[in-house]
């Protein structure tokens, strides 16, 4: 340990309440010069609130912040930048219609002209290997490139401390590797980094020290390189029930959902074209579709659900019936159901009550909810109550609007609304995205038991841990193309990671090595 005077940043008992909710409970932490310090914790552990306090976006209720040995009040982001603290947000503050240079200039002081930015941009991109075209419109860029803009914005102000909030959540494993190289370089220049993440592996690879938060408190300080992964996980989430897919679960014969050579052009300029997608899912099977966000997942979901129709009725077959031309309500009536990745606004109407939101998907499938166009609101209420009871949805009010629920509870409601029908085919997009660990475990367990009951389930997910936990077969989607479906126990995370960046290459490589054991091709690559 170094002496306190050499600390770049130290906080003592930083506390922040939101109403009666304590987001940060006496957090003390210090950062040395030239270190990468991990801030590890589940969603809602208080990581974001804490770094927002460091960046002047949130004012702590009590506690002190010491910067280079002096006590400071960080009252605004401008003050933070003045001190030499920069931040790269998880949610980018970008402008799609403007170009890269303009986007960067907007984050710099008023007197900086766009033309100056272009010159300095070249210098910085060359130095850190952050390839960016100053003229490109940001709306056309990939998530990785968009993140680079945020990093360059931050670097333009030569910060001593850089805060990165879940930087790899939008990146492919390969893009993440590239980011790590850049971060190492920054540290070698003597800068420090606070690295927020809930991904254990990358923290172990990258970080010198880790502070672990749970429920707003510091639960541990450790060296992630010498601490075991299981121990880190336990510290981060506490003791947790695992849904655990029973091994050797057998799928029944027959095909519940079949997709044949489905192609669809993107609904919008920034969308992804679906190309030649084929997939067969049997009853009892949980098939996972892995991929980095923005590679055609939402387009595929909309095609499977019938929110967008296919020209070819036979492109999608549901329980033996061609449905490519049928809308989402008709497909539901045939026994399928769908859970979209966007809880608020897509799967539910935010301002409407839960019982109204039951009607969103159930009015046309449940005969007792509607008679000749007239709704039975009491029945919708009791159905809503039943779903809340059996899926442990905690709302704290009678029939609240959807936006009054926490993310985890609303997700349980949305999953429950579909599962309660016992659909014979269920397509779920990102079932546990942004959901607390308890709710996620509950949701996974629900899906597994639905499959055990004979339903065919398609899970579109970015979360490889989740996929390996519940899926029995896996396909990867990248740039609108889908690989064939492979048994989950023959796939490695590395292999999937590689395919995520290029499904075509991955698939052909796989085809070439069909008779070899899984992962051989990868070994050669390393």
């Amino acid at each position: 340990m170094t002496s306190p005077s050499s600390k770049l940043l130290a906080t003592t008992d930083v506390t922040k309440f939101f109403g009666s909710f304590c987001a940060n409970d006496r957090i003390s932490l210090d950062v040395d010069a030239g270190e990468i310090h991990a801030l590890l914790g589940e969603n809602g552990a208080g990581k974001s609130t804490f770094v927002k306090a460091l960046y002047g976006l949130v004012r702590p209720d009590s506690g002190t912040i010491t910067w280079k040995g002096e006590r400071v009040e960080i009252t605004s982001p401008a003050r933070a930048r003045e001190l030499g603290i920069g931040m790269v947000f998880q949610h980018f503050a970008l402008f799609d219609s403007l170009n890269v240079a303009e986007n960067i200039a907007l984050a710099l002081p008023q007197d900086v002209a766009v033309s100056d930015v272009v010159a300095r941009l070249d210098e910085i991109t060359a130095r850190y290997g952050l390839a960016l075209n100053a003229e490109a419109a940001v709306g056309d860029l990939s998530a990785g490139e968009r993140q680079r803009i945020e990093i360059v914005r931050c670097l333009m102000q030569s910060p001593t401390l850089i805060i990165l909030d879940e930087p790899t959540s939008v990146l492919t494993p390969q893009e993440a590797d590239q980011l790590f190289v850049t971060l190492r370089q920054l540290v070698n220049e003597g800068r420090s980094i606070i690295y927020i993440s809930h991904k254990l592996e990358e923290v172990q690879r990258l970080c010198d020290r880790a502070t672990i938060l749970r429920h707003g408190r510091v639960v541990a300080n450790c060296d992630p390189r010498t601490t075991e992964k299981g121990e880190l996980a336990r510290l981060m989430v506490g003791d947790l029930v695992h849904a655990a897919r029973p091994s050797g679960s057998a799928a029944a014969d027959g095909i519940a959902l079949s997709v044949r050579a489905l192609s669809m052009s993107a609904p919008s300029l920034f969308g992804v074209d679906l190309q030649d997608i084929s997939l067969d899912v049997r009853p009892g099977q949980i098939c996972a579709i892995a991929g980095i966000a923005g590679n055609g997942q939402s387009e595929l979901f909309e095609a499977l659900s019938g929110e967008r129709l296919s020209n070819d009725p036979a492109a999608i077959t549901l329980l033996g019936q061609p449905v490519g031309h049928l809308g989402i309500a008709e497909r539901r009536q045939l026994g399928a159901d769908f859970v979209s990745d966007e809880r608020l606004g897509h799967a539910t109407a935010p301002d409407m009550s839960l019982s109204d939101n039951v009607l969103v998907t159930r009015a046309r499938t449940d005969t007792d909810l509607m008679r000749s166009g007239v709704l039975k609101l009491e029945r919708a209420r009791s159905l809503s109550q039943r779903i809340q009871d059996s899926f442990d949805v905690r709302s704290g009010a009678v029939d609240p609007p959807a936006n009054a629920l926490s993310g985890g509870n609303l997700q349980k409601f949305v999953i429950g609304r579909a599962v309660d029908r016992h659909p014979r085919v269920l397509v779920v997009n990102q079932p546990t995205w942004g959901v607390d660990a308890g709710a996620a475990a509950r949701i996974r367990k629900t899906l597994v038991s639905l499959a055990e009951g004979g339903s065919a389930i398609v899970v579109i997910s970015q979360d490889l841990d989740e996929i390996f936990e519940i899926a029995d077969s896996i396909a990867v989607i990248a740039r609108g193309r889908l690989t064939a479906l492979y048994p989950a126990d023959q796939m490695s995370a590395e292999e999937i990671g590689l395919w995520m960046s290029d499904a075509e290459a991955g698939a052909s490589q796989r085809a070439n090595s069909t008779f070899q054991t899984a992962g051989v091709g990868l070994d050669n690559n390393d």
Binding site: F18, F21, A23, T49, K52, G56, L57, V58, R59, S76, F89, Q90, H91, F92, A93, L94, D96, G139, D165, P267, S268, L269, F270, G271, S298, S305, G306, E307, I328, A329, E330, R332, F338, S340, E342, G345, H346, A347, T348, A349, P350, D351, M352, D356, N357, L359, V360, T361, A363, R364, M370, G373, V374, L375, L377, A397, P400, P401, A404, G407
Partner: protein, 368 residues
Amino acid sequence: MIRLEARPRPSWWAALASPVIALVLTLLTGCLLLLAFGKDPIKGLYYLFIDPITVWWSLEEVLVKATPLALIAAGLSVCFRANVWNIGAEGQFIVGAIAGSALPVVLPEVQGPHVLPLMLLCGTLGGALFALIPALLRVRFGANEILVSLMLVYVAELFLDWLVRGPWRNPAGFNFPETRQFHEWATMPIVGDSRLNIGIFIAIACCAVLAFVLSRTYFGFGVRLSGTAPRAARFAGISRNRTILLVMALSGGLAGLAGIMEVAGPIGQLRIQISPGYGFTAIIVAFLARLNPVGAIAAAFVLSVTYIGGEAAQIAIGISDKITRVFQGALLFFVLGSDVLIRYRITWTRRTPVIQTPEPAAVERTST
């Protein structure tokens, strides 16, 4: 600085109080306005808002004017609930009046009890079809329905002007720009010996039916869903385009019905001017009623009082009846402003506010 803090759930008391708050604020503004014109505010407000409902004949007049307002506003409520902005009700009112008048004007020899129902039907259809023009252009080409429906108001006014000065002018009317008087079968039956006709019952019935449809039927649910969360509506399998067409046709149809009831009722013939801006005032009625078709009945009454009160005040204290329009505009502002109370708590802050959300706001827009 004013800061809005989202309430955890919409406030029910604010929902009930907001129209009242808006009315009170409008009255206060009215006081200031009257003072500015050197008039006694109490006296002025009395003539504007109280006097019209103290005498039976003027109360009748208030009800006569409230009828088209309520009818149009009920349709607009449904439309606005679907987040579809039909601003051209004035034009649909006029076209409904024209379409319904065709029978008694062109074929006055057709007589009998079937004439009036036919006229009402034609008026409704006329208004609905006219409203379908902006709806179709919106659905098919993405043209903004606000601007198109509004442009069509001017077109409808000019078309009416041409008709009553040209082909439909009363041959025995000394060149006045008006059609022949409608015959007895073509006019709305009068209630008792008042100025009221059966239109008021039709309007009330329509409002009641629409309120039921909006709150208790799947169609109404779809309209509300499509308005508040269009993507959730699509997830439910409700077509946005179909919703746009239906609510535009519905609101246009009701405006058209109001139009033909007006010319077959109090006016009795087509003229250049058949509406003191009912189609626009009905927008205010709809918002004052918080987009509730039954509430539109009460709100129509309030707005109608301002019309009659404006005339009364002009005579009594010599202030221009143009003040009515000012009141109406101010009322709409205050209605919209007080509605904010339902969803937000308003707080005052001294310094620039810092972000105070426990969850990070989703800044990144997903491109769809």
